[in-house]
Symmetry: C2
């Protein structure tokens, strides 16, 4: 495959353009797919950039098709970047379960067989993809990051691991303490190995509690009818250290909402306006 991204789908919407690209990734050693929304090109200013990280089983299309984000992004002059959740393909190790392997990369660099090598999603979303999209498009260097469930973990973890990179971070129903919940323990054990100390570098509640953590604005929405709330998500585990350290974290419990994209669609406008406020400040 050529190193230059190949455009595999393109549509006009809300006066802007939705693109889907495939490229060879140096990080994951194989083809990767990502989607990009560019707002209408009628503005003076280059669009600020928001990354969306998706949850288990998703690829770059779920948010693109179901969240309704492009309407507001067009209005606010925001570019949206949607990576896939893992490397894909016959050459890429996989697991029969939905929460390990393809579609379940957890935005980390795997350290042990059979995952090490291809499963380097941290490098991909932290370095390779940002460099790529900035080389493709005329984008502002101001960035924010958001995500859902496993991608909420990815967004929070990335923002805490890369201080100064993002002006704000937000999440829908994020996994905030992967070291302590079944989804995270299974994935981290498989990808990172038995030494749980190595897991902490990917755990948002531990990263936020660290002494040298640098504050940034955080918005979290969580449905109280989400079937994963108690066992897998536990957003209060992030709220506690944030409160102790007086961090700017807003956690909103949304009554009656579940874990679906209907929940995301209902509040995505709030998240985009939240980020735009900091990106434009």
């Amino acid at each position: 495959m050529e190193m230059n991204p190949e455009c595999i789908d393109e549509h006009r919407l809300f006066g802007g353009r939705q693109y889907r690209y495939r490229h060879h990734s140096a990080s994951t050693g194989g083809p990767m797919t990502y989607s990009v929304f560019l707002p209408p090109a009628d503005k003076q200013q280059q669009p600020h950039v928001i990354y969306w990280l998706s949850g288990l089983t998703c690829n770059d299309e779920n948010f693109t098709l179901k969240a309704g984000a492009q309407r507001v992004a067009a209005e606010l002059n925001l570019a949206l970047i949607m990576p896939d959740t893992s490397p894909r393909g016959q050459d890429v190790p996989d697991d029969a379960a939905y929460d390990l392997g393809q579609g379940a990369g957890f935005y980390l660099n795997a350290a042990q067989a059979p995952w090490a090598g291809h499963y380097r999603m941290f490098d991909y979303v932290a370095d390779e993809l940002p460099a790529l999209v900035h080389s493709q498009f005329a984008l502002s260097d101001r960035q924010a990051v958001m995500g859902h469930s496993m991608g909420g973990h990815g967004a929070l973890m990335l923002a805490l691991r890369l201080p100064g990179r993002f002006r704000s971070v937000s999440a829908f129903a994020p996994i905030v303490n992967p070291c302590d919940v079944p989804w995270g323990r299974k994935a981290f054990g498989a990808y990172l190995g038995d030494d749980e100390n190595a897991w902490h570098a990917y755990d948002s509640s531990r990263l936020l509690a660290a002494e040298d953590a640098r504050p940034l604005p955080i918005l979290i929405d969580q449905g109280d009818a989400d079937p994963f709330l108690g066992l897998q998500l536990q957003p209060e585990k992030l709220e506690e250290p944030a409160r102790r350290k007086n961090w700017p974290l807003t956690l909103r419990m949304q009554p009656g909402y579940d874990h679906s994209y209907f929940f995301i669609a209902s509040f995505i406008e709030d998240h985009l306006r939240f980020h735009a406020g900091y990106l434009n400040a």
Copy 2:
């Protein structure tokens, strides 16, 4: 299957509720699936009702998931009803092509084998489904109808066939003259037989041109980058008789837009506000 609809999916969104139901249809002689969005129940007035008819290959979920209509419907106190595009199942005749059989009911009552019997979508959307949803929910008796492509044909045809039923009708990239274009000729020939006179009762451009046609407000959006525009859609064939008769038809050519749900999402708010204006008048 019980005669009472069975709720097979339910989500909260935009303060309202999205439902998916299965029921036994007397019209089509088998199970049918439909989706319903109910706006927040905090209004004094019962919601007015808008039917959405989908295009080829779609079912009740495409619009539900991709159009972003519920946000505006919630604001405007509108209920949305999304039927499937055909009967489904192993007992239902089908064809290997995407534009005939399951997923391609064309909103008509088939008259010949093997389609007659199950393929009675006109009866289903004109009579059975409205009676059913009004028995399920407290809805206003004011209604509008809209659709996409084959469903745009369905919406226009239904509105013209049932004068006084709908206050307004709108369509995205509709088939307006099925008797004259390949999709329509293939389907009508299969479902209705060789006598083309029998086809005219399902052809919007002919229904609109009829002397006794009763005017109603019509809004049509059409992308000029739609690959089906010239061969299958030809909206100017509806515009000509409307102009002669001084009907309230607005046809908007949207530059750069294609046939996808990205196009629909970009303009659905205009359609809902168009209908709300007549429903609330």
